[in-house]
Symmetry: D2
Subunit: 306 residues, 4 copies
């Protein structure tokens, strides 16, 4: 298949979508982006890349980082991780706190904020120290994308200062003894990995191991075992897009994960990893044009898993 | 692939699982089954069948019927159906009523009870009369499985008499004007289609259209359009097993739907439909051995979509 | 104290309040009232009456009937009643269903709908038959107010036909085995006693036993024991006005119970019973002018219990 | 009435109750008390005192402090305070977070933790600085009880270190912009006033202004206006004992407020203030023997307001 041509076709078709939606504005630092940017990258298992738009522009990966920290925690703890964070869809955001309270501080899955905070906390318990932990997260992603990556200090600081709801979640879980480190350290590490800056091309490369049973096809290094990779993918499909997970499953039909920075990653099992970027979000908090682009992609390629 | 051999292999391996779990007992009529029964059927797109165990024994299809009524309603109403029932996962069962109340009587998806009741109500509005509606449902399934099917009067009556929680859901939705027919008629029709009796072989055949973009490959008749079939499949993957949907996605990795009667249907897109039956349920209300058998199946065949 | 003069003073002062608020409109039958009607009656323990406005006009007592059925059930069952209905405030109306679900079908108190339905159900279990039960309720109130009273057939029928939320509550409680009779019989009896028509003067007379430790001071007949009367009064103070109970306790400072028909009853322990009527309701569903009139009353008489 | 004799009678009758219940143990510092201590003090409007047991032993006043901070905030802000904290009962503790979330960060009343935290935060906004604020609170209570009072450093520190649920409440409210100062400062001030140590006699004296329309009868100083005192009293009656408020209203029949330290204060309007102390708590978190003693008191004196 001529993927470059398909990307070009997609770029033409999404032009009319670009002005739709709104850039995330809950922290000022996130607003400072080109609202109409668009980029898309495909990385095949053999290492071939196809790119379009501003594919090497770095953006805040936000919740996409949850995929990497979950993979790391799953690798370290295996099934024991499920004692602290479950793997089922969570219903609507309204339930975040009530569900957490009803289920005694055990979050529904590692892709909602509460669950990702627990995942980060488990890494902190393993690596003992918040700087080492962040370095390990950084190193894990860096090994996957083969590029040095950095977090954005300004975004990190604003998240840290305004993240009261995340503080509420962490405090509630701590009252149920499901946060084992000081809340401050856990949240700092969490906000720091959410503030990592990566480009479409880097993210597509970094996700490739999940399209290949946990093994980076470019280096043959196993990052996680095949069943664990399958678990991550199943979770991305059922829980990767908050309250639009069902919609994404239907329209795109690929395991994926979005971030409020405007990025979405997705994988086609045994074939490729994809990343798309466009910062305007739809009302569910996912990239508007990014979702449309991925939908076009599976329509044109018939690569939906359904 | 030698599917018959794979079924035989599965049958051997699940023997030790058969005594685990409990048969549904909330109504007496459901208890009158052979607790250790096991059956599995595969139906390929070309019509070839592979069967094992008591594959022609009829059992109560229960919630599996929701797949057929949702497909019918989607065919009749298209996107308008989503004004009355959404298509996102629902979180834990505890939330059933609070979520329905918070979301003003619009159920999260057509595979939770509230959503299936709305779906049935929409069919009743279309066909005007409860007998005609049930006949149409019966006819729809009958055209798919090419066999006459009947409902079990005893199961139907017990469900009707003891279904107070479903009555509560229907009454609450009616107070939000999301049930348009008399509650009694809607629930009668709903309980009747849940009480349909089918065998594994019949169910595998009846699901084949969903493995083939909505077209029955045996007759080339289009039952629903390709995008609608994709929607049904995406929903089965994200919401087909209540609070174990994420687990099923991981362990089995196929779109599927279970019923408390002990049946589970699943499809491998573009390849086949599968049905498994074993009446003992795990603590999530899904067939214990059935789930194990499907997990073995995707492990042996590598047909998981992930 | 010159109570007649106080009533006259109140009538003058509330004139500007009369146009405020809206008459209950959830059923057509309730709308057919004179929106600007006002009446107030005081009945002292010695039998003296003071009245103003249309004090002998009959109106739908609605939730005020819950006071009488609770008194009856408490008399019959004593503390055993608390196994089925609790006596604590309930928080906001939004919680009605979730609280009932979380607390396994045991309503918070007998003055919210769910609790009053349970109370009625307990009477039905005692008297066996819905007609006898309604006659007993009628007879109980009749003995207190010394007048024959009737229910309004049109109001009863409309409530019965449109009471889907009450049906949802009853069905949910039945699923928890906290409704012992057919839902239809329980709700019919419940809606019938809510549809009783009484005048201000009759209601003030009927409430007198609660101002006098359970004994009707006019006949010296003990209707309930002193501790039980105290319980009813404590409940009226803490739970008598839904989500405005705290506000009523502050502004009026008397145990009382309101109904959406526009009536409010209140008692001054050891002194008198009061009833006020004015059909326009404030946003909490209590008579707007009625509440103002009672507030003026305790301000002018300094009879607030605080 | 011979109050001293009544206190002696009560002391005899509650002996068998003393071993029942458990001392609060969520922080170690609270456990270090004599579990079987008992004390009771009555203070009449004319200044006469009646005491029994260890009436001058100081204990941690805990939630009783909420009465004083609410009175202070009401004095400073008047009705504007109700924009930030409501005055209605709250239903069960389970709802704490869901209710707060549903009602957008506005707590139901100033006597649940969330509400008391908001009250403290409002004082902090007024006095600007946490030390000044705590001094003002201290001074307010000190002026009422005419004794110097101190907080317990050990209790304060343990509360601060383990109060994760209160942190969750404060963070959630801050996310709704209903906490205006740094969470740390607000919680420090809150935990500090909860850690104040007072004796039964001091507390009875300090509550006297609420029995006398807001005016300290011993000095004739108005601490708050009469309507505001009425509001505090109405709130104590409807919300003073968490999920046992209805029960307390019935059994005791007086406006009151309990603390997990084992103290309960109550007032008889226009007559007296009462304080009782006994550290073992019943399952609702209120002093077991204290509640019994107050119940005996209103039975023997017939001073229940009902």
């Amino acid at each position: 298949m001529n993927y470059q041509k398909i990307l070009e076709e997609i770029q033409i078709q999404i032009q009319s979508e670009l002005p739709k939606g709104e850039v995330a504005s809950y922290i000022p630092a996130l607003k400072n982006v080109q609202a109409d940017d668009f980029a898309m990258s495909i990385k095949l298992l053999d290492g071939t890349s196809y790119n379009i738009g501003c594919f090497d522009k770095k953006f805040s990966i936000q919740s996409i980082s949850k995929v990497f920290t979950f993979a790391m925690a799953l690798k370290l703890y295996g099934k024991d991780l499920y004692k602290r964070v479950w793997y089922e869809p969570s219903g609507n955001p309204f339930n975040s706190l009530v569900q957490l309270e009803y289920e005694k501080g055990i979050p529904r899955n590692p892709f909602i904020n509460a669950g990702a905070i627990v995942t980060t906390d488990s890494l902190l318990s393993y690596y003992k120290n918040k700087n080492i932990t962040f370095n390990e997260i950084n190193h894990f992603i860096n090994s996957l994308c083969k590029k040095e990556i950095f977090y954005n200090e300004e975004i990190f600081k604003s998240e840290l200062e305004s993240g009261y709801r995340n503080q509420a979640l962490a405090s509630l879980m701590k009252s149920f003894k499901n946060i084992n480190n000081p809340i401050k350290d856990t949240l700092e590490t969490y906000f720091k990995h959410c503030s990592l800056m990566m480009s479409c091309e880097e993210l597509a490369t970094a996700m490739l191991f999940l399209a290949n049973h946990g093994v980076d096809p470019l280096t043959n290094k196993e990052f996680i075992t095949a069943p664990k990779a399958k678990r991550v993918n199943a979770l991305m499909l059922t829980c990767g897009h908050y309250d639009a997970s069902g919609d994404f499953a239907f329209h795109v039909g690929l395991p994926g994960k979005s971030g409020v920075g405007g990025g979405i990653v997705a994988i086609v099992p045994k074939k490729m990893a994809i990343c798309v970027y466009s910062p305007r979000l739809n009302e569910k908090g996912n990239s508007h044009t990014g979702t449309k682009a991925l939908e076009l992609f599976t329509t044109l390629t018939e690569l939906s898993i359904f």
